[in-house]
Symmetry: D2
Subunit: 141 residues, 4 copies
């Protein structure tokens, strides 16, 4: 089981800008959300299966004002250590941590970062599922 | 069969404002959409049934710049004449016209207007349905 | 004086999708707005000068449901005939019509169209300006 | 110097909802932003003066799925202890912490919380200002 870092290019839209001509802080979360969807899609994890991933918390740090420009969003999964060292089968994981970075595409300087906690739930019953169950449900036809 | 004019109060959000401090023209469509949902809800027409309403075209006229303020959205159905004069049962209607007005809540001056064409489709097959079928589907349990 | 058709690529964001998994009708206006900014920018017309362009009306026709996909937005100016035939100096123009088309990038099928009327105003006095005065103000340093 | 907790009522808009019919996580930040603007306005602090407040980080915890409903947003300033105990004049404060809670208006159950860090900068030079300078600049005519 291996998860890649996924990079996507994003464009600021005029409607993302606030009174000061910089991107509104709520809109920055839309960029990170697009990054997570690409990450899921690149790993064959769809939004339409029986188990779904739901954001339980986000910490965003706004480092620089974001202008009308081209952006790069980098998304990476931080698995709990027990999973990374290969005890995958032994211990169920009920939460995943995703680390995201938003960069100026030209200068590659960091504009904002997000640490996102994800939980997995059953689409219908809304009950908690483990990461293992989530990945398994994705592979079912 | 009688349809009322429905008024709702709306609040501009900071994120609705553009560089010039006025409401972005795309966001104005969100106000009108909220008005149409209230209209549907007040008439017992839900978004969750087998037939759904879909916007096929909108003409918006922006009359005055909209500031950070309280708004009033007025929504009214324009039925085709044949339906209004009571031939409801005889002739199926495949399109409805909705007239909406956005007002400054305090001064009651008109800020924008929208003429919205709606069609009705089956949620699953995406096939066209008549207004009569749409209303009938809403009343089914 | 010659104005080109300008094409830009756009990406649907997850936050653009509604309950049915299609792009919300208000969000479609954000795509067209991005197209107009690119058009202005390609023709050296900035948003930061003394005269600015303001949208006075939009007619959008939604032809097909828009999924989570890559889009193409095509923007073209429709000048009044008097201007096109070269009487540019003689007759002042107080309104411009812009025609925009939103396409599926892969299939090149049309998803939506917009006819946008633009007026020109002085940034400070908010008084009406002609297209000629607008273009002149843009070239001033 | 005393700062009140400020409550505002907010309405979910149809365009705030995602594929699952719940409010999109980026849109929740728009609610909190509206809460902060009300807080500033109730304390006579405007967005248009020489010193402005800028969000440097936000931690949002999403506790429950938010439906199409009426909401209450509660906003409160957490001053550093030194300021609270009255050493206001002695020690300059360069950061403020704001605690916000989003509630279901009917049930008063908590739906989400936000901890927001604010810094103060000069509108033109973009240099850091203290909270004391920010408040002083607001009172200048």
């Amino acid at each position: 089981m291996y998860f890649d870092t996924v990079n996507i290019t994003l464009h600021v839209r005029p409607g993302d800008l606030d009174i000061n001509g910089h991107v509104n802080n709520a809109r920055v979360l839309e960029y990170f959300e697009a990054g997570r969807w690409s990450w899921l899609s690149k790993h064959g994890l769809s939004k339409q299966k029986s188990s779904i991933s739901v954001v339980s918390s986000i910490r965003v740090v706004y480092l620089r004002e974001i202008n009308y420009q081209e952006l790069l969003c980098r998304t990476q999964l931080h698995l709990p250590e027990s999973v990374e060292v290969g005890t995958w089968e032994d211990e169920l994981t009920y939460k995943a941590e995703i680390r995201q970075i938003l960069l100026d595409k030209k200068e590659e300087s960091t504009l904002a970062t997000a640490d996102v906690s994800i939980v997995f739930i059953d689409r219908n019953s809304r009950e908690l599922r483990s990461l293992q169950e989530f990945i398994h449900s994705q592979k079912a036809t």
